[in-house]
Structures are given as C-alpha cells and as structure tokens.
Amino acid sequence: MKSELKVTSGARGKNPDPAMGRIGVYFLHSGEDASAAKDLQNLADYASQLPGVSMVRTLAASTGLDPEALALVFRQAGLSAVVLASEHPGFFKPAFSRALALAGGNGDQVHLASFGERGDATSPDRTKAVLAAAVQGIPFTLPPEPAPGTFFNTATMVIGGGVAGIQASLEIAESGHKVYLVERTGTIGGRMAMFDKTFPTLDCAACILTPKMVAVGQNKNIELLVLSEVQEVTGSLGAFNVKVLKHATRVDASACVACGDCARFCPVTVASEFDMGIATRKGIFIPFPQAVPNAYMIDPAYCTWVQSGGKKCGACAKKCSKDAVHLDAKDEVVSLEVGNIIVATGYDTLDATRLPRYGYGTYPNVLTSLEFERLTNASGPTGGKIVMKTKRQNKKTKADEWVFEPDGPKPKAVAIIHCVGSRDRNYNPYCSRVCCMYSLKFAHLVREKLPEAKCYEYYIDMRAFGKGYEEFHERIREEGVSLVRGRTATVKEIDSQLYIHGEDVIAEHLINVPVDMVILSVGLQPSHGSAELAEKLHVPMDSDGWFRELNYNSEPNSTGRDGIYVAGVCQGPKDIPDTVAQASAAAAEALRSIVGSRNKEDRNTVPQDAWEQTTVSPQRS
C-alpha cells in the first residue's frame, strides 16, 4: 500500500491474550505536521504495549482507501478487530469495516479512538485513555471536554428543511434553544410539501405539514436561511464553525407580502421545480403559495435583468408597491457558531431516463411518481384532476409540446410500475421502502377520481411493512385494482397507444396490456451534493451514498462524529412517520449534549417571555 509510511512492531514484551483476539491499531494522519508525527510515535509506542494489540500501523489518510488491499494486510496479520485512531476517524470506518469483513472477520469489530471528540489536546493521558478504551472495545464515557476558556455553544444547525429538518428544528427551538435551519431551495417543506396524501391514512399531506412550516416561520428561536448551502465546517462538538453561502433571493422577505404583482409582469416563464416540471413558474416566483418564508424570489439563471447585467427589464422592481425587490442584491457568506449539527438532507428520486425501456422522456404520458403526485395534488396544474397530456404549440418557439390541461382527456387505464431502479444491481440495489405504499396510494387516488378507469399495479414483492400498511394493501385490492406480480420489461407506444409488456408470474404468461398512462415508481437515492457535504462534515457514508449511522440498532442517529447527527431519509430510505420519529430522536440527542454540557454559552436564544409569545399555535391565530 503506497500510503503507508512506517510500521512499528507490535506487542512488545507482552503476550497477546488469546481471549482478546488480535487487534490492529491504525493511526490515521495527514502526514504533514512534524510535531504531530512525534506525538503519534509516542502514541504508537503506547498502543503497542496494550494487551491484545498485535499490530500498530500509521497510515496517511486519504479518501481513496482500497478495502481489498487493507483486507490482504488484515488476513496476513490474522486480525480479529481494528482500532482507528485519529482526530476524526469515523469517515474512514466504512472502508475498514468492509476490509475486515473481506478478510473473513466481523465488520462490526472496528472501534474508533476519536481524539478530536473524546480527547483533550492538553492532556496526553486522556488521549491514551481514549485509545485504550477503543482497544478494549468499550465506550469512553467521560463527556467531551471543551478547551479551557471555550464555551459549549447551545445553538444547533439543521441542514435541510424537509419534514425531518422542520421537526428537529421545532423540537430544539421549542425547548428554548437557538436553531439555524439551512435550506438549499427557496422554501422549507421539502418533498412532503409536494405530496397530495399520506399513506396509509390518506390524510392530506399539506394539512399535516403546513402548520409545522408556519410554526418554523414564526418561531423566534429559528433563524431560517433559504437558498443557502453549507460551505465549510470546522471545530468540534460544542464549538462548530460553519460557513454558509446565502444566495441572494433579491427580494426583501420582510417587506414582501406575496401579492404576486411582480410575477404578473415578469416576462420569463420556466418549468417549476416544485411541480417537477409539469407546470411553469416565472423568473420571479414563490415555489408554492404556502411557502415559508412566504416571499417571492428571483431565479438569477433566467432573470433578464441579471442575465443582461442590469441593462434590460427590471419590471418586477418597478411594479413592486412595497419596494421589496432589490435586483442588485449580492450572495453572501455568513459564519455561524453552533454546538451541534443535524443533517437532514433527504433524497432525490432516480432519474427515470436512465431506464430507456420504460420510455420516460419519450412518451408524454409516462410519468414519475413525484410528477403524478403533483398532478393529483389540488394545488397542481390541473387542480387535482387526473388527465393525460395534450399537445399544444408553444407560442414562442412554435414547437409542439405536451402539457397538462385541466380539461385534458381522462385516462381509461393507468399502469403503475413498481421498483423502477430499485432492488436492481444495475441501478440501486436496495429497496426504497416507500414505493409499494405510495403506489397503492396512487391506485386508490386513480380509482377514487376516475371510477371507470382500470388500474394495474406491476410489482415484484408487495412490501407493506408498517402499522396499518397490510390493511391498506388489502383495502386497495378490494377497491378493484389489478395487482399483477411481475416486473414490467418494457413500455412501448404503438399507434399512439401505450402498451405494458411483462410477465404475469402467477399466471405464468406474458402480458401486453394497453394503457393510457404509466406511473413509474422511481426509487429514492441520496440528494445531490450529499457526498460533498459528508466530506465537509467528515462523516462517513455507506456504499449506496446514504449517511452512515454509527450503529444501526443502538445509535441510528449518530454519525462517526460527536455533535453531528442524521435524521430522515438522508440516513436511508424511510417513510414520513419514521422520518419524523428519527428527527425528534436526533433533536433529543442534540438537546442531551446541550443540557448536559458544562460552560454553557447562550448568546443567541430569545428571552423566555419573548419566546412564549411566539409559540401561539397557528390554527388558533
């Protein structure tokens, strides 16, 4: 292995206890600092004296560790456990777990000696104790020690403003602590805001989510940063410093009353991201009417004024009666001090054009699940009517385009294809967990809104795993939906009629079913930018790109680093109830460290009396 610097001999003067197995200790270092290298040598000498340690190595840490090469070393040394020792070793744990498993050991026997979080820069003895605890495989229970003169910051940063981020923010803010909620898009709400109904209760999704969104907007302890992205993270538990890039919305949110005058005069029309591209928005827009913050914003990529360098247009600024539009506003980088970070970055759906055999992007009436979700939503382009796309000529480009219109033709048969890109080693090998249930929900909506229409579900295995889910499955079956076991191979259009081609596995024959609309139940995958964020945070990811929890059973919210927690789908596919539960759990972990810390520093929270005024329930106001 070329990144290896030197090898120190192991287990000098002591017989390794056979009951303890053979432990390898790896010191990961950046390989640049000479004084650190000296400290490392002392620690390595110490480690080699510990019982059970049969090998001590130093390794220049790089992101590209090769598990197979490591496994070779492990196998030769006959290791049964590995200790990773460095400032933040958690990031490298997956590679070592995989290597240990490849070498025939138990992949769980990788222990972390995290000096950055557990140790103390001024106390070599404490550092040694951290190392010894990791070698013994027991938790190091002393609470983290802030450096002398520093304080434990009680503010928390939540990255991602979906339902998980909202829930975690509310839990912490309502306990009286400061929260910075960083959201990449122009509004909080995330994916759940796009949904029409939730399974299995068929509750209206917006009725559950919007009160929470409003509560976030009104809570004085929550500082909401929209169009913002985390740029850099330094520090550790109790004293993180996070640089956040705030893109300018170019509209003063406190002055904007969301009257919409600006958008009426905006000459630019583009596809709406919130509506998954099946409806349009203007260059100055509000993602959806219930958005929080409830203010318009400008999309600089399409704005005529921005693109022309201020020479053209500017209609929105002229028409705004509140003078809220500031076209020349600049992006800024803010530096925030927080004690804990909760990651809730959620998911993207699989790009259905990767499966050309289903014809998405080629045939107009092949939709993805989120597109159908917007179509059937009362706030969608057709007011919730399930219709087929109609051909229309674009007035500007004169090209034909397929659009949803409220009076479009109704489909007579709808097919829902499960597991699109899920449980498939060519795409995502894992089960996305929610698709079966939302597909059943779609089938219900189709049967409810179009009782004459036939509805087919093509599934591999029906995974109705949660409380009330199996009953929901039975209910949909009784509603007259055809549930066909067998994965669809192709969707073809012959004489402008879509055909589903697959095998009915139960009946053992091939099927060729004419349908008018196809819904692809695309799987979930980590939202774009997750890998970059993980690198900035120094937290591990698993092989599928989800944030990796420290222990799946006992520490599902913890990452490899103290003070950084995961919540929601960014840790792995899950439905809304599980997401909300995990978000509350992550908030509890953050609160535990805040409440339990010594040398608390609380500069940010709003005084208690002011806070009480803000917690008036939105329904009552």
Binding site: R423, A489, E508
Partner: protein, 381 residues
C-alpha cells in the same frame, strides 16, 4: 399428479454451467425482455423456477431452453445478476446429457478432466489407426499425397467417413427419439396426429438451413455469425463426404471444387476466431461465461480448420510428406470433434434446436385443434 422434487438439481446444474440461479427473485423481467419468449413457452423465468424448486421432470420435458438463442438481453436486464441466459445454456447442456442414453455426455460435461482424456484418447487412437492403415493397407509411402499410391487414398477415407457418419447419425437419432419421448409424450403434452407431423415436417430443413428463428433476437450479429458457421460447415461437410477425390487431387487447383472449399475455410476461421475473441474479451452477456465444453468445441474447430488449410498449402507447395503428416494430425482433430461432440456434446444442438421448434409448433397446433374441437362439441344455447 405427484411431483417429485430433487433438491440436488440446482447443484447438479451448476456443474453444467448454470450460474447464480438462487439469486433469482422471480420478477419475470427476463421472460418479458426476451424476443423469443411467447405463450405457452415463457422462458427463462420458468426454467429458473424449476431449478429453484428442484422440479427435474418438468425441466426435462421442457422445450423452452432450445427456443432460446442466448442473445443475453435477459442477463443484461436481470436486476439480481442471476444470469438467466447462462442458466438456459446450462440447462441445454444438462438436457443434452439427459437425452443421451449412453451416459457419456453427462460424464464429459461434468468433468473437464474426463472430457480432456476422452478427446486426447480418441485423437491418439485416430493417429495410430490412420498411421497403421497408411503404412500397411494404404499407399505405404508417406511421401505420396495424392493420385495412385497415395498414403491415405480418398476412396478409403470415404469408406471411413461414411461409416463414421452412419454411426454418429444413429446415435444422434436415438438421442432425438429420447428427446421426442421426454418432450412430446409427457402428461402435459397434447397428442399429435401423424398427419400433423408430416404437415409440419418442412419446418425442420427450413430452420436447419436458415437459422431463421435466431434472427428474431434484437442483436443480429450472433445470428449472422452462426449462419456463416453453419453454412461454411455444411459446405465443407459436403465437399469432404462427396468430393474428397477432387479436393485431394493436385498440385493444380480445381477451382470448381476449391472455390467452395476456400469460402468455407474462410468462414470457419473467421467465425471461430470471432467467437474465441468474444469469449476472451467477455464483452457481451452471451460471451461472459464459458464452460469447458465451449472452449473444447471452439479449440477443436479452429484446430481442425487450420490443419486442414495447412495440409492443403503444404501439398500445393510440393511437400507431400509434410502434407501427409498434417493430414493425420488434422484427422486426430476431426474424429474426436465429430465423434464426441455430435452425439454427446455441444454439436448435438444442430438436431435438437430445429426439432424443438418443430415440436413446439406441433404442440401448439394440436392444442389449437383440441380447443376448436371442444368448442364445436359444445351444445348450442
């Protein structure tokens, strides 16, 4: 009807090259992706199911595996990497062994060492036999290649190859009858009247000479390659079985005969190199896995073609002794290739594939007739 389960079937098939069958989760994507799969012959998922369940008898009576040409689309699209295409290939090998009444096929497929021993043994026997024949019964002079006094005279070789052809044909015929018995005379098959057998008979030569069905695969290259191989091989077979005298005569080139010989030689070399290159590069699903029998088949084919060309060149170059030696070496490849491969191994599919198409159409026609009869028998309301 009782179904006997053989729990070791899946392990048995692994020796025949079936890969990763246990990974299959029965989604049916493969059957629907296949351009050949159609009711009632829906494959390869059903064969995968038989294997997983250990249903030996239904698998033995299945025609499906012969209707597959292994374009590899099923394996490419398989979400589990269960390699349904290679499974079908493995089932075809297993079926070949099932049809073979001698049990030799099963032994050759299951063990690489016995296959190698058999090929080498037959080759050495052939070499020794033809040497003895040449010295004591033939021309006796190794430096005479053609004409009167030739070391291996054409008329004697004709006697040998016609005898061998008859024996191999008989063996293959018996195996074909067993195939008919398994596939057409089981409890699920519909009885087919003799007239129908006769009526559909033209299907056999049609599919044998055109490989028509293979062309339905989305990727046409394997079909073109296979057809070129079949036609080249048949041409060469006719030349050797009927026109050996003209082939052997020299040193001038008899273009009326040799033009066909050259064409088929080029075809055989090109197609076998194409296949070997594909199997080495493993760039397509149908070339990703190679059973020992595949290498043996291709190796022998290339060996026989190259030695055949070489003896021709040596003879025209005026080196009759070298030509005679290479001739014996050539025969040491030909006899094991045909003697072992045609009735017992990969080459037998030249008979089983057209037969399977023929049988499947007969079954469908008989089924249709049975259904119409039932309809007409129904009393009117």
């Amino acid at each position: 009807m009782a179904l006997r389960v053989n729990p070791d079937l899946i392990d048995e098939l692994e020796l025949f090259g079936a890969k990763d069958v246990a990974k299959c989760y029965q989604c049916g994507n493969c059957s629907a992706a296949c351009s050949h799969s159609d009711d009632p012959y829906v494959f390869p998922r059903k064969s995968m199911r038989y294997l997983q369940m250990g249903l030996e008898k239904p698998l033995r009576s299945a025609l499906d595996p012969w209707l597959c040409y292994y374009c590899g689309k099923c394996s490419d699209q398989c979400p589990r990497g269960a390699e349904p295409g290679e499974t079908m290939m493995g089932v075809r090998r297993w079926l070949t062994a099932q049809y073979d009444f001698t049990g030799l096929s099963r032994m050759l497929y299951r063990s690489w060492s016995s296959e190698l021993t058999a090929v080498l043994g037959v080759a050495l026997l052939t070499g020794a036999g033809f040497s003895i024949f040449g010295f004591f019964f033939g021309g006796g002079n190794l430096s005479v290649y053609d004409g009167p006094g030739a070391f291996l005279p054409a008329h004697a070789i004709h006697v040998f190859d016609w005898t061998m052809g008859a024996i191999l044909g008989l063996l293959l015929l018996i195996n074909c009858l067993r195939m008919w018995h398994f596939t057409m005379r089981n409890e699920h098959s519909v009885p087919v009247p003799a007239s129908m057998y006769l009526h559909f008979l033209p299907l056999l030569p049609l599919h044998f000479f055109t490989q028509k069905r293979f062309r339905h695969c989305e990727n046409k290259t394997p079909w073109a390659n296979h057809l070129a191989l079949v036609l080249s091989y048949l041409t060469m077979l006719v030349l050797i079985m009927v026109f050996l005298k003209y082939m052997q005569a020299g040193p001038q080139i008899n273009w009326y005969v040799h033009v066909f010989g050259y064409l088929s030689a080029v075809g055989l070399v090109a197609t076998s190199i194409f296949a070997i290159r594909g199997r080495l590069k493993r760039d397509a699903a149908y070339h990703r896995h190679s059973h020992e029998s595949d290498w043996m088949f291709l190796g022998l084919l290339l060996f026989v073609t190259v030695t055949g060309i070489l003896q021709h060149i040596l003879h025209r170059a005026g080196l009759p002794m070298a030509a005679n030696i290479i001739y014996i070496v050539h025969l040491m490849g030909v006899v094991p290739m045909l003697g072992l491969e045609v009735p017992f191994s990969k080459w037998s599919h030249l008979a089983y594939r057209p037969l399977a198409i023929y049988f499947s159409q007969l079954q469908q026609a008989a089924q249709a007739e049975k259904t119409t009869n039932l309809v007409t028998l129904q009393p009117r309301a």
